[in-house]
Symmetry: C2
Subunit: 768 residues, 2 copies
């Protein structure tokens, strides 16, 4: 599977068409603009295997869940990202022959993702009717400046003949999700309209009643001149189309521009949708395809200017990191606090719920460092607005007094996952949401956020930890029983070190915050405490007691933290001892065997050391890294990046590089044979962190940025951008020196290794 | 819900019809004869709520499973007991009015289960068409002597008018399971035949291709004389019927006798089914309803003569124990080694797989003590024949070299359950199957069984334990990680005391058996060792090592065995501290809360103390009982009986009686609000054991029977029958004396308390 796609600094290229790889390519070449997304399905009819995917952010369907054995507290519904009505359709017939890449003779085929400029292109040369050769191209983009607009340039050129070319430009809402549990279709028609030259299809989702209006119009050109056509209309349930023909002489190119506007009731009143769509189509036509494309490219230029990573001397790594940055920015633009970052973004249906703890643990640090602070804030507000539902969720599980358990998987704040060992026990997610508040504030310096929003969430999560911990008479310590840590290859364990660490951290951060606000902003504090019915007399002492007396398991001999109680009773083996044909173990071993083995799916104790690195010296980190890395099989996409950062931290650059490659090209090289389902969007953020925090050694120390860069042997240099409290700066690392360039006006306080520097606005310093 | 049914020594009576209770009553009044079973559905049309259930033993369907999150090793199919074609149907119309108990005015209604004679009766008096009053009765039984025959006497008497009575006698295979996962019907028609006076319907199951032939014939009588009728024929897909009318004068009774034969391809060649059915119907008509009924009653007399328990002074307890004995004997007759004892027998669809460890742990001891030794042997041979499939099942989970893991739930030897924490981890079931071999031999004295069948199974199970245990460097002991014990309110725990005990016991029993056979029957032993590729050099020392060095967790302070590692870290609370409105906790608490609580679903450590009682002194049993009983919520039907036996063992008769009542009237009083799904057949055996082993204190000591009887305060006396190595004896206990009556020729070696007696054949002794 390796290197199916060509390596290039700015492009991903599929040269030649392999139908077996089509689902993979549809994922890899996906487009998105934060508002909608589209897998790289063909515009024209295709009778081969494919996975249709058009997605509108925030539009979901609560499908009835399928579960063998029900447990109390399971949600009845699983919110699915919906495969939305299909707007890309352009069917093509030439001299009566339907163009279908599964049927025609393909002479050449090239599919290109242009990451610099944000579009998808396809060129193919085919022969039909035995002798007639055609060149066909399509280019499409989802506008980054006008996010409801999708544009397609579709051209047809007879190479060695003159013929009649017939186009059918259509909209179609008769679509279904591949992951529908009971074979249901989720879209109903609200209305449709078709005329010569334009069409509209308004659909609504069952149950959730989201309305999505698609409007289309188009222009046919030859030699840059509009061709006059007389379209036939097709008007049937859930489908509207215009069909029209034109003659193309030998070597003449017919170019069809399709303009589509996708408007959802998330943003507009349902009754206004038709008018809005029409306005938007008028705007699109008035602007024209070229202007919209150049605006779109400008927007991508701006993104790259503040988030690009340049790697000299390793094209494979270069392509990979840009692929990751590109897809992250396609998935989430931070403009709408109701949206979030699905693990697969807009590239597939899997993990149908939009939001996991991936957002806080991986997505947020990336956006905090590469985007305006409002982007990070919106990710936090998303959770803030779900606080009440999280309190209700905790109540369902028997918690009281405003304790909150954020859902494992959610679209609208309600839990929609049901495996008891995850839904009920993978509670460390709550800690990630608390930590995100700290992380946001230290990155942005926005201290107001705490009293305005953060503390309410912290109190609710602290209450959860306080009630979830119980006292062990036996140990004379507080314990947290029956949890699943980030390493999901252990279920229902006691005293997961990572979970206990997060619990104690949350409690102590909340206590400290209350103390600080008492001094600094006591009137706002008072409001929060009143709103949350906070009880000073009972809650504060209980939390302090838990902070002081939580149980943490340590192997005194090896001086490592123990992932959970009883971990040492396992056979402690190296992952290298697993036979090759049994990897990945999650595809070969039964679940019990995985559980009782020592093998670790993803960073767990190490995830904790990553978060709370400040508390531990390098030797401690190294001992734990050496102990756990050898047992870690990295069968989660979120694992290798954290290990890579820690390997850099302890100076093991070879290991760091090995782990970096594993995470960076996970999708491009399809390590886990699952790219057909979609891309690993959230882990892409981890890849970026592996460069910036790993190789770059970048950290925040109070109001300073710390750098301790390393560089992999085979890299000549690398550079990255980052933001810190309103300052944009660029770091360029080579084996001999590091340049830190401050691109803003404000001075940047820098610690390089152990030395302090001030990088004044618009200047750079060189450190050797 | 208490006392909806009238209490009576030999009857269960529903007086008056409550449609809300109909599903419950259909379960309670179920009939069966080991070969087929029938819920107490009405013969005539009923438009109210009911749960149709006709079952033919051994006829199942592997329905595709529904599971939210798939794990490697899960079976794709779940074998369901099928709701078989309906043979009881008799529709009734009087003066044009369809008789439907959901529509007519019911003046009186009485449904009776006659447990002494094994039939179901229904009498009701209704008014139709405003003024016309009718008396209707039905009586049906499934013959214990001719198990393919089902017979119904159905009579109609106009009380205050003369009218036209129309009967439709039919067979119908257009039925479905309520628990079908994808709404499918499982039966296809093979052929049908209908003529005036008789009909036949042959159906086959999809996938499994079982054929079931139903044949019917009937007689209509008035004043004991056959009434001449001219039936109309209905012949449509999956349905055949005869419809005919007759006039009944005021006070005249029309009596319809329906004879049905149910023949399955489990017992006959498919092509012979029509001929067999016809033969059987001829036989039935020739014998006549009355003769067949009296033969049936005689057979029940025989059963009661060897298995009845008589309780004087407690009608509630008396009715309950007979209800349990009755249903056990309806479910399993031990004539066919391919059959087993489903947890719900023939009373519902739930727990659709036929066989659980309930059979070995509860069913087998009951049948070993109340039935011919061949009955117990057939239960063992059932597992022996599934050995190869159990080895394959273990292979799927990564075990090697002929290790066997018997399925948690099965119909044909293949696993058909998928909850990882049960399917893969509730491995103690394997131990129950090993223990059953020991239990069978000590009850029957059939030592030949070991070399012929038993040892092969023991070796395969020992191999499983040997591979499942791993060495803990930390503890310097062998450990068994990641298991679920009988207490399913703990999942994925380490070193469950019960499981480890069973593992060690199995290994040591297998070692001892090999040693004994080496001395006694070395040629047979040689064959087994060759067949199993047994390796003396590696297997024997490994097993001995495991026996010597298994880890068992003990609370040294309390001197109790610990259910699992870390049990003491829980908050140890009494079940009494659970608020009433939160019970049963499995209907009110989320699963994680149950798991991290100390509460115990069913006997776990205590189940082990019950099995291996000989190894522990009374004080040890008492300490463990006191520690665990208070935390046990008995939310499994298999729990209270074991606790009751142990309460008797430690002399706590009040507690033993309290627990006895809980188990004995579980279904009659519908403690857990679930009788509508069917009865708890296997736990009924536990109830019987609670009297015999509990109050009676009966044990086997080598070749002797030990008795240490107690009697609950409110009982005048109780008596039970039991068998031991070919001897049938009766024990009658009152507060002043115990009579032991040997009903066989051979002498019975008895230990009463601590004193030895010999009860010669056909004599009795009285002990005070």
């Amino acid at each position: 599977m390796n290197s199916y796609y060509k390596k290039d600094e700015w492009l991903v290229v599929e040269e030649g068409f392999d139908p077996e790889m089509n689902r993979e390519s549809e994922s890899i070449f996906s487009l998105g603009n934060g508002y909608m997304g589209q897998r790289a399905n063909f515009e024209e009819h295709y009778s081969g295997d494919y996975h249709r995917g058009s997605y509108v952010a925030g539009v979901y369907y609560p499908d009835k869940t399928r579960v063998g054995w029900w447990k109390n507290g399971y949600p009845e519904y699983f919110a699915k990202v919906l495969n939305a009505p299909n707007w890309i359709g352009i069917n093509l017939t030439v001299d009566g022959e339907v163009i279908d890449l599964a049927q025609v003779k393909i002479n050449s085929f090239r599919r290109t993702l242009n990451m610099k400029e944000g579009y998808l292109e396809r060129h193919f040369n085919i022969t039909i009717l035995k002798t007639k050769t055609l060149e066909i191209s399509s280019k499409r983009f989802l506008s980054m400046t006008e996010p409801d607009l999708g544009l397609i340039r579709y051209s047809v050129k007879p190479v060695n003949f003159s013929g009649s070319v017939s186009f059918t430009v259509y909209l179609d809402s008769d679509v279904r999700n591949e992951d529908t549990n009971y074979g249901k279709k989720f879209w109903k028609e609200v209305s449709r309209h078709i005329s010569e030259g334009s069409g509209m299809l308004i659909s609504r989702t069952m149950k959730t009643d989201f309305h999505v209006a698609l409007g289309m119009t188009y222009i046919l050109e030859k030699d840059n001149k509009k061709v006059k056509i007389k379209p036939e209309i097709t008007d049937r349930a859930k489908y509207v189309a215009n069909t029209f023909s034109s003659v193309a002489g030998k070597g003449e190119e017919l170019v069809l521009y399709k303009f589509v506007s996708v408007i959802s009731s998330l943003n507009y009143d349902k009754k206004n949708l038709p008018a809005i769509v029409n306005q938007r189509l008028e705007f699109a036509i008035r602007s024209g395809y070229n202007k919209l494309l150049s605006d779109h490219i400008n927007e991508w230029d701006k993104i790259w200017a503040t988030s690009d990573v340049v790697i000299n001397g390793d094209i494979s790594a270069q392509q990979a990191i840009r692929f990751n940055i590109f897809h992250l920015n396609q998935t989430y633009t931070g403009k709408d606090e109701r949206l979030n970052i699905g693990p697969k973004g807009f590239t597939g249906e899997k993990y149908g719920g939009s939001t996991y703890w991936d957002t806080e643990a991986f997505g947020l640090p990336f956006f905090l460092k590469t985007a305006d602070k409002q982007v990070g804030k919106n990710l936090l507000l998303y959770r803030y607005k779900h606080l009440q539902k999280s309190i209700e969720n905790a109540e369902k599980l028997g918690f009281k007094h405003g304790a909150a358990l954020y859902p494992m998987v959610t679209m609208n704040g309600e839990e929609c996952h049901n495996e008891w060992e995850i839904t009920f026990e993978e509670i460390h997610r709550n800690g990630a949401i608390a930590f995100a508040i700290y992380n946001y504030i230290r990155h942005t310096g926005d201290k107001e956020y705490m009293a305005d929003y953060g503390l309410e969430v912290l109190i609710a999560i602290s209450r959860f930890w306080s009630q979830r911990a119980t006292y062990s008479e036996n140990l004379k310590k507080y314990v947290i029983l029956g949890v699943t840590g980030p390493n999901e290859y252990e279920n229902n364990v006691n005293n997961n070190w990572y979970t206990n660490s997060l619990a104690v951290w949350t409690l102590s951060y909340t206590l400290k915050t209350i103390e600080e606000l008492e001094k600094g902003n006591s009137s706002k504090l008072g409001k929060v405490l009143k709103k949350t019915n906070f009880n000073f007399k009972t809650e504060l002492p209980r939390w302090s007691e838990l902070v002081k007396n939580m149980h943490f398991n340590v192997d005194t001999k090896r001086q490592v933290f123990l992932q959970q109680d009883g971990f040492l009773d396992k056979e402690l083996l190296s992952a290298e001892s697993i036979p090759k044909d049994e990897k990945p173990i999650n595809q070969h071993w039964s679940w019990d065997r995985i559980l009782r083995s020592c093998y670790i799916k993803q960073a767990d104790v190490l995830q904790g050391l990553y978060l709370f690195e400040d508390k531990y010296d390098t030797e401690t980190i190294k001992r734990n890294f050496d102990f756990y890395e050898q047992m870690t099989v990295h069968e989660s996409s979120l694992s290798a990046c954290i290990h890579s950062i820690l390997a850099s931290r302890i100076g093991n650059i070879a290991k760091a590089y090995e782990l970096y490659l594993r995470t960076a090209r996970l999708d491009l090289d399809d390590y886990n044979n699952e790219v057909s389902d979609g891309l690993h969007i959230t882990s892409m953020a981890g890849t970026w962190l592996a460069i910036v925090e790993g190789f770059g050694g970048m950290r925040i120390q109070d109001d300073k940025i710390l750098l301790k860069p390393l560089i992999p042997d085979n890299w000549k240099s690398y550079s990255f951008h980052s933001r810190f409290r309103g300052i944009l700066f660029e770091v360029k690392v080579s084996s001999t020196q590091t340049i830190v360039r401050n691109l803003s006006e404000k001075s940047l306080n820098l610690v390089f290794d152990t030395k302090n520097y001030i990088v004044k606005g618009k200047t750079e310093i060189i450190v050797k």
